[in-house]
């Protein structure tokens, strides 16, 4: 493992205007076994430490014999998530079947978004740290993994519940209908569904990624505009705060949308096709 060699590229870009981050993580100059470590990876490790410590605290509290505050908070969170996901799946039994995956993703995405917004606060206190950290969901690789996992689990569940032939026969040889015309249309619709599975991966991952990425861009633009007012010593940077609050709302909304859509896809994999 080599240590830090060069300063971060963002400070040496030398163009006028707000700093617009790249679509994927920027290299930090660190290498592990020849593989460059990007800013996203470093932030994800940081986030994993925070998340695992938090989960360990909640686990200890849940195992405790006498009731305490942390235990009550944990039970409340789980109850709310249960209600949210039962509503999204429209069935309590089905939602319990996938809770390990979808609740885990919800907690990961939501806390990851909040963590990314906290990184902005770190950037205000310590601007040099911005070369090494970045909101974890503002990298297309992270969200692509999340979307791919959901669709792969949905497909695997479909094969397990209905069998391989029925699961994929529904896509390719979908002869459903009364007359020849309806059968032709059904075959075409089945092919569209097959393409749709790939589009689902893209839409699921790109939606989350673009929303968080645009949050980063908007905040950097507002910071730049606040700094560019003359004779005010950057006091107008305070107008970043409402946008930051809006990003908090987006952080919750996007994780909820992810939960809702993955619930829909998983529900489709379980239900009987006609």
């Amino acid at each position: 493992m080599q240590f830090i060699q060069t300063a971060h590229a963002a400070t040496t870009e030398g163009h006028v205007g707000p700093h617009i981050p790249s679509l994927m993580g920027d290299p930090t100059g660190l290498f592990i076994a020849g593989i460059p470590v990007t800013t996203t990876i470093l932030s994800t490790w940081l986030f994993m430490i925070v998340l695992f410590v938090g989960v360990a605290f909640f686990y200890q509290a849940a195992k405790a014999k006498k009731a305490n505050k942390l235990q009550a908070i944990g039970i409340d969170v789980i109850k709310r998530l249960d209600a949210l996901f039962s509503e999204a799946m429209e069935s309590h039994e089905l939602s319990r079947k996938f809770l390990w995956l979808v609740w885990g993703f919800f907690i990961f995405i939501f806390l990851g978004n909040i963590f990314g917004l906290m990184l902005d606060v770190i950037g205000i206190v310590m601007p040099a740290a911005l070369g090494y950290i970045r909101p974890i969901n503002s990298d297309i690789n992270t969200t692509l993994v999340l979307g791919l996992t959901i669709i792969m689990v949905a497909q695997a569940t479909g094969i397990y519940m209905k069998g391989f032939v029925r699961q994929y026969g529904h896509y390719i040889f979908n002869f459903h209908g009364d007359n020849l015309m309806e059968k032709c249309i059904s075959v075409f619709v089945g092919w569209l569904h097959f393409i749709g599975e790939f589009v689902r991966v893209i839409s699921l991952s790109t939606r989350l990624f673009l929303n968080i990425f645009m949050g980063v861009v908007i905040i950097s633009i507002v910071v730049y505009l606040g700094n560019s007012v003359p004779y005010t010593a950057g006091i107008f940077e305070i107008f970043t705060f409402p946008f930051w609050l809006f990003e908090l709302f987006v952080a919750f909304l996007q994780s909820y949308i992810f939960l809702k859509l993955s619930g829909m896809y998983l529900y489709e994999s379980v239900e009987e096709t006609h």
């Binding site: 205007g17 679509l23 790109t206 939606r207 929303n211 645009m214 909304l253 996007q254």
Partner: protein, 75 residues
Amino acid sequence: METTAVATTAMNLLPLVAIGLIGPGIGMGLIGLGAMNALGRNPSASKEIAKNMILALVFCEFAALLGFGLVFLAK
């Protein structure tokens, strides 16, 4: 040749984003209109309407974000 290469940066493609924002703008307005109409007809269903409206708005917003995001690929 070099000047044209410099001109095709992401920032110069921002007018295209503005064109891409027209459609989602109209769509989001229509969603709001539909939600308000539904609320006027059935005020007791406000919670259900708000939830579905936000869901539809997020789908619509995605089109705008896609236009914004594609510009970053044109470096």
